[in-house]
């Protein structure tokens, strides 16, 4: 039939079975895959429940209200052995957040410095940065953590020979002890003053920007902001009669007592994660800067913009668009790598959860909590970075 050739392909009636229709076939395949998946999940779930029942293991999340019975060395909130398992998990969660946030900040700073250093025209700086990147990037993170932990323990002295640092700080193999501020009544005014100073600084900076746009005159932003943020709280402090005192660490029987202590576990995990992740961030930064076309800086030079300003106003903003997406992955990696804390006894979510798992035997429940928490943390970081990326993206005019 020669007429068939003139009919458009979309209106072609199936001559045989409808199974030959690619649309129908596609739906059938998808339905089969979905059915198989649902069946697999159902089978795994029922089988797990059945096996748990047969092994006489209780299930459910009720155990979270039970008394923990164990102590945690490092805790941001009050925790005793009388607290609940649920609270212990919160302690572990906060410790994970603490090391992740501080690690991300430090890794970003080191990473940017090293990344820019690799592009430096100074031979020594460029080569040193290269060695740094190649060393830390090529060692497993667990080894970096062990390196810092044994390093910290081996190099630092015993408590009785603590090294005294300025400002009444001491360092020994039990950690870094520093004076803890004790706030008496009236101290809140200093805090309010600080908040007011920060808000005022933001307004001043905006005003200065507007002024520069209108008149071309530049106001001394840096000095005004410094004066506000340091001066105003200081004046308030003196005016209210210095209601802040310090609890200074002093030598006790076993260790320094008083003050606050940052344990060697946190220190070494924080240093290890920062240095490890920074080596990847450095490469991302270098790639980002290299990714900006050379013509951009040449154009800026041609307009008479100074080299420092060229980097700050022309190159970096464009490089950021390349840097941010892979940077997000590194932040997620750092957060997830923090679970290696278990190797050196830092009480993070995995370590505390593992202890609870062992005391209660609620393996399925604890593992599910771990998964949900890390998933939530990672997705939140991703969302934030996506928002930041959208903000930094090239605005087409």
């Amino acid at each position: 039939m020669t007429i068939d050739a003139t009919i458009p392909p979309g209106k072609d009636k199936p001559t045989g079975s409808i199974l030959n229709d690619p649309k129908v076939r596609g739906i059938i395949y998808q339905a089969i895959t979905l059915l198989l998946l649902v069946f697999f999940i159902y089978w795994v779930t029922t089988n797990t429940i059945e096996n748990l029942k047969r092994a006489n293991i209780a299930s459910g999340y009720g155990f979270l209200n039970g008394r923990a019975g164990f102590d945690v060395g490092q805790s941001l909130i009050a925790f005793t052995s009388d607290s609940t398992y649920g609270r212990a998990l919160v302690v572990g969660f906060l410790n994970t957040i603490l090391v992740a946030v501080t690690g991300i900040i430090t890794a970003t700073i080191i990473g940017f410095l090293v990344g820019i250093g690799r592009l430096s025209k100074n031979w020594l700086i460029a080569k040193l940065s290269m060695v740094y990147v190649e060393v830390f990037r090529n060692i497993p993170p667990l080894l970096v953590i062990f390196f810092w932990y044994s390093g910290v323990l081996a190099v630092l002295p015993q408590p009785r020979d603590s090294l005294a640092l300025p400002l009444d700080m001491y360092i020994n193999n039990r950690g870094l002890a520093f004076p803890r501020p004790v706030f008496e009544s009236g101290a809140q005014f200093t805090f309010y003053a600080l908040v007011i100073a920060v808000i005022a600084s933001i307004f001043f900076a905006r005003y200065a920007n507007k002024k520069q746009m209108e008149t071309g005159k530049r106001l001394p932003v840096l000095w005004t902001v410094l004066g506000l943020v340091i001066g105003l709280p200081l004046l308030t402090l003196l005016a209210t009669g210095t209601p802040i005192s310090f609890d200074v660490p002093i030598a006790g029987k076993f260790n320094l007592t008083g003050g606050s202590v940052v344990g060697p576990e946190f220190l070494s995990l924080f240093l290890a994660l920062s240095f490890y992740t920074a080596s990847f961030i450095a490469e991302i930064v270098r790639a980002g800067i290299r990714g900006v076309s050379h013509g951009q800086s040449e154009a800026a030079h041609a307009l008479g913009v100074r080299p420092g300003l060229t980097t700050r106003l022309v190159v970096v903003p464009q490089a950021m668009r390349i840097i941010i997406p892979p940077l997000t992955s590194q932040y997620l990696n750092l957060t997830k790598n923090s679970s290696l804390a278990i190797a050196i006894g830092y009480a993070d979510l995995v370590a505390v959860g593992g202890t609870i798992l062992n005391q209660t035997g609620q393996a399925v429940e604890i593992v599910s909590i771990w998964i949900i928490v890390y998933l939530t943390l990672s997705l939140s970081t991703s969302l934030f970075m996506n928002w930041f990326n959208a903000k930094m993206a090239l605005v087409e005019r």
């Binding site: 047969r54 006489n56 102590d71 945690v72 052995s81 370590a351 035997g361």
Partner: protein
């Protein structure tokens, strides 16, 4: 770690039906695969530790061998799974190991909620403290403010919290998952005090850089009955594991040793005849699912309880732990076996 638990869980979920179908009993499974899978410590001198060529030895290891000897008549038919304090329970729950002989304290929680069964206590222990001599501490009550190294997932960790709370003492727990990590941290001076079962302290002291610089404080703050654990729901297997221990204690009671067991078979004492399965028409072993000379096989393989104790942790070993509570009931201890009758 998490990965390991997950593997165990998924293993439990996926393998569950498979193993169930293959054989209804643990004994049947063990016989079918031809060896005993035994969960032991990752390395605790005297209790379970591998030598340079990977051969395991120790007090707990001898229990694995004794069970294998009772089943197969061959003490070498054992495969060892080294487990940390934390992953030992998932390993047993999931069926990764057939029996857990790993300095495990018998507690009501483990006996019920965790789904295990304990009966035979092969070592009566208690928790103690070890400190550096240079600290001049004579009693655990002087330990307020100390940093204490402890292994996570143990009864030790809980007893520690209870003891310091009950005595109004402050402390800073330094918690690790693996025994080796706790040892290294204590040796490096990260903490002032090391706490675990006293038998463990004697064993660990030997591995420190300068064992003589450390003392074990006199206080014992807990009861730690250690024994082999099995999963609930298989009474025959539970009986076999329990009775291997009772056979070892019984043999010491009768004075039957690895050297004289063949000779003792000719004994005219009816108790010994029944115990060694030489009594006419006996069903002493077949009722357990084993052969009638199961006790002979055990003793030939590892000796009696006293021999195991002396060889691994007692007078003939570097640990030199006193028998103490673990002496026979007839010699001032509380080791006691039910009659074989």
């Amino acid at each position: 770690m998490a990965k390991r638990i997950l593997t165990a869980l998924i293993g439990a979920a996926v393998m569950g039906i498979g193993t169930q179908a293959a054989s209804a009993t643990t004994l049947g499974d063990v016989k079918a695969k031809g060896f005993l899978q035994c969960g032991v410590n990752t390395g605790l001198t005297g209790f379970a530790s591998p030598d340079a060529s990977g051969n395991w030895s120790g007090f707990d290891v001898d229990y694995c061998k004794a069970i294998a000897a009772a089943i197969f008549g061959d003490a070498t038919k054992v495969k060892y799974t080294p487990t940390s304090a934390k992953d030992r329970f998932p390993a047993l729950q999931s069926g990764e190991v057939d029996v857990l002989a790993r300095n495990t304290t018998w507690t009501i929680n483990r006996d019920t909620a965790l789904g295990f069964n304990f009966r035979a206590v092969n070592y009566y222990d208690g928790q103690g403290f070890m400190v550096r001599k240079s600290l001049n501490v004579k009693s655990a009550l002087e330990l307020s403010g100390a940093a204490v190294c402890v292994q996570t997932g143990t009864t030790t960790e809980l007893n520690l919290a209870d003891y310091f709370k009950a005595n109004n003492l402050q402390y800073n727990p330094v918690v690790f998952e693996k025994l080796e990590e706790v040892n290294a941290a204590y040796d490096a001076g990260r903490c002032d005090v090391y706490t675990t079962d006293q038998s463990g302290l004697y064993s660990l002291r030997l591995t420190l850089a300068a064992p003589d610089d450390h003392i074990i404080l006199p206080e014992i703050i807990s009861k730690e009955p250690l024994g082999p654990a099995v999963r609930q729901g298989d009474d025959q297997w539970f009986d076999i594991v329990s009775w291997v221990h009772y056979a070892l204690v019984g043999a010491e009671d009768f004075g039957i040793t690895q050297a004289n067991v063949e000779e003792m078979k000719k004994s005219t004492n009816p108790d010994i005849q029944r115990f060694l399965g030489v009594e006419a028409d006996t069903k002493i072993g077949t009722d357990l699912g084993l052969e009638n000379d199961w006790a002979v096989k055990i003793i030939k393989a590892v000796g009696n309880y006293g021999e195991i104790f002396d060889r691994n942790i007692g007078a003939a070993s570097p640990l030199k732990i006193e028998r103490g509570l673990n002496a026979l009931w007839s010699k001032g201890g509380i080791q006691y076996a039910p009659p074989v009758r």
